[in-house]
């Protein structure tokens, strides 16, 4: 029985033949995810953000000034608080966007048992907001120009219903939408 000459040769490593396409697929998924995360379709003009579809590009500064003045008249400290009133394009009413900058001295007013929800309710229901037909409130809590920590939004109706007891806190939390900075999610140790 002759010995096959090929047996003595060292075996060629064939590698993982399925890895190439799998790696490519993984890279593709990551690339698509990153493209959406960094809003590439919006930047290329392929997709309009919801704010551009629904809201007027012209903020109502007079309403923002009136609401801010109303809050100040209620002895609410408005340091670090900037308000933007963005009217809807095709219907009456507007969204109130509150920029809360902790680095400029913003702190939630103390007093109500639930200061964050309480503050959002005050933003939605004060006389200025009623006069300006604010239908939804959004808050963005940040530290300085570049570090946005959390954005939260709820409709005026939901906040009113919660204040009057028609909506439980759990129901309000379910209805409230938002975005959290992932760094804040992972880095803040100790807090439950």
């Amino acid at each position: 029985m002759g010995i096959s000459p090929g047996l003595d040769r060292p075996r060629r490593r064939r590698g993982c033949c399925g890895c190439g396409p799998l790696l490519l697929l993984l890279l593709l998924v990551v690339a698509i995810g990153a493209a959406f995360y960094f809003k590439v379709p919006q930047k290329l003009g392929l997709m309009k953000p919801a704010s551009e579809r629904l809201l007027s590009a012209v903020p109502d500064r007079g309403c923002a000034a009136q609401i801010l003045g109303t809050l100040a008249a209620r002895q609410i400290d408005t340091s670090g608080l900037t308000l933007w009133v963005l009217p809807y394009k095709d219907k009456a009413g507007a969204i109130l966007y509150a920029d809360l900058d902790a680095s400029a001295g913003f702190t939630f007013p103390k007093g109500p048992a639930d200061p964050i929800v309480g503050f959002m309710t005050t933003l939605a229901t004060n006389e200025g907001s009623v006069s300006c037909e604010i239908k939804r409130v959004a808050i963005e809590y940040r530290f300085g120009e570049d570090l946005s920590m959390i954005k939260l939004t709820a409709s005026t109706q939901e906040l009113q219903d919660h204040a009057s007891g028609k909506l439980t806190r759990q129901q309000l939390m379910k209805a409230m939408e938002g975005k959290v900075d992932p760094a804040m999610m992972l880095l803040s140790g100790g807090a439950k």
Binding site: G62, K151, M185
Partner: protein, 236 residues
């Protein structure tokens, strides 16, 4: 080895940025936010990566990552909420100009306002700011033209609404009043003439009365009394 050290340093720098910010925040606000993110809200939305002991749970973290990714890609499912959460796109664009225009009203600097108008020709606020500066300087004719232009643009901005004329009129009056207040308070710096000062006051008071008489909104008349020491009912 050197590269590893560099990456290490970079990671530490990245971690330090949010932590430093958190430390500088008001302690109780930080706790309030944490309670919301890791409490009722995070649990209701499925974005809380921690378990009951406060430790990061791999399964919950994966769920939270999927939930967050889904929201980034597809939105929240509520278009109104998505519009509110992405509104920073609109405010971010005009914010630098608004600051510059506000300074220009204080200083009576028309050229800076004209630059804003060049960039945002459809924004009535900048025409109103220009008109207020012109009014202060006693140039009533150009001021009226720019007020008119702003009014036309406000109507355009509100055309989708059923009561577009009323909404535009309110928007225009509300937009002018804070600008006039500002110009009156800075009339020693913005080059206001004697005629200009009189025009600023009479336009301001006429706007204040308009809001009260036509829209039953007495905010501006009480503000005129408390902040400006003006009784606009007397100032006719």
């Amino acid at each position: 080895m050197r590269r590893r050290r560099l990456i290490g340093l970079l990671l530490i720098a990245l971690l330090c940025l949010p932590l430093t910010a958190c430390e500088s925040m008001s302690g109780s606000d930080y706790m309030l936010l944490m309670e919301l993110i890791y409490g009722d809200w995070g649990n209701a939305k499925g974005t809380n990566p921690r378990n009951d002991k406060g430790e990061i749970d791999p399964v919950k973290a994966a769920g939270a990552a999927v939930q967050t990714g889904k929201q980034e890609l597809l939105g929240t499912g509520n278009e109104d909420a998505d519009a509110a959460l992405s509104a920073v796109g609109i405010t971010g664009e005009v914010r630098p100009w608004d600051g510059q225009v506000s300074d220009a009203v204080n200083k009576g600097d028309e050229s800076s306002i004209l630059l804003a108008i060049t960039d945002y020709p459809n924004d009535p606020h900048y025409y109103n700011a220009l008109a207020v500066v012109q009014l202060a300087k006693g140039n009533g004719i150009d001021a009226m033209k720019n007020f008119e232009q702003a009014k036309t643009l406000s109507k355009g901005a509100k055309k989708g609404q059923s009561d577009a004329v009323t909404a535009a009129d309110k928007m225009q009056t509300r937009d002018i009043l804070p600008l006039l207040e500002q110009a009156i308070q800075h009339q020693s710096e913005n080059g206001a003439t004697d005629d200009g000062k009189t025009s600023l006051l009479s336009t301001y008071c006429s706007g204040v009365r308009h809001m009260k008489d036509k829209y039953s909104d007495s905010y501006w008349s009480s503000r005129a009394k408390t902040k400006m020491n003006l009784d606009c009912e007397q100032y006719r």
